[in-house]
Assembly symmetry: C2
């Protein structure tokens, strides 16, 4: 009886602020929105337009693609490949979206293989970035929001209305 009460207390304390399922929905919602931002660009502007000496949106998308899928794969397999941001889209929006969707598929494949109990585990992502599984996932979502938002400014500066931020 005492043990049960103790377990119940611990259970209450461990009530998740954010569960694995909730984080997954959050992640996928952001990926959907970023996909819409890619779609909103005129094809050539993905590869040519920039502001303030910053990278084109295609370079930022390549960075995002290089991180998300390979991060999940690394977390599940424990094998981290070198971060490779050089993705050749051949100047094509369709090819970029294909790479984007393949990354989403990879996330869908590996996510169920990552038990919730591992989220607080320490890792060194890509052999370089120390953190936990959850902090690494939050970081790459943040990084996606950050660069996508730069895409919003690029779109606005081209006179194009970007997708609504809340429309995931």
């Amino acid at each position: 009886m005492e043990k049960t009460a103790e377990a119940a207390t611990t259970l209450l304390a461990a009530q998740p602020a954010i569960s694995k399922d909730a984080l997954f929905e959050h992640l996928l919602g952001h990926r959907k929105l970023t996909r819409k931002v890619i779609e909103a660009f005129p094809e050539d502007k993905l590869f040519t337009h920039n502001l303030g000496g910053m990278r084109t949106f295609s370079k930022m998308v390549a960075e995002l693609i290089s991180i998300a899928g390979p991060s999940l794969r690394g977390m599940v397999t424990g094998v981290w490949e070198e971060l490779n941001e050089e993705i050749d889209f051949g100047g094509s929006k369709e090819t970029m979206l294909k790479h984007w969707d393949e990354a989403t598929e990879e996330i869908n494949l590996y996510w169920p293989q990552l038990p919730e109990s591992r989220f607080t585990e320490s890792i060194v992502a890509f052999g370089l970035y120390e953190g936990t599984i959850y902090s690494t996932i939050l970081y790459f979502i943040d990084n996606e929001i950050h660069h996508r938002s730069q895409g919003y400014v690029y779109l606005r500066s081209l006179g194009i209305e970007p997708p609504a931020f809340w429309d995931r």
Copy 2:
């Protein structure tokens, strides 16, 4: 004995992907970085500079201040005031930072009063936005990252190097 085993199983399932404490650290880290971005602007440019017909960074900061503290207060007290984005900084960066710090103090005050067990509870933030406590918190953090990133582009377009994204 059976009850204990059952509780232990439930406990394992409820292992938090992201705990309340972890989310708090995440939130405060973002607030620190946004504060640095405000500081990086030349005072006048906060109130005058924009790109693509977008708002000045001061208007975005006013929005962020109007959301974060009042959201926490609303979650804890159950009383939601109307969203008020009209904050008069009087053209002063120092006043803006003062408002920013007061919002952080309000978050620090209310956060401990929000039990982790309530994070999945349904709320209607500001009487308008349906969600849960955790989804509302994630949403306003996302919104902060989104607008801060627009501030990054504004800074770059002014020839100013923004603070590093990872430096919280």
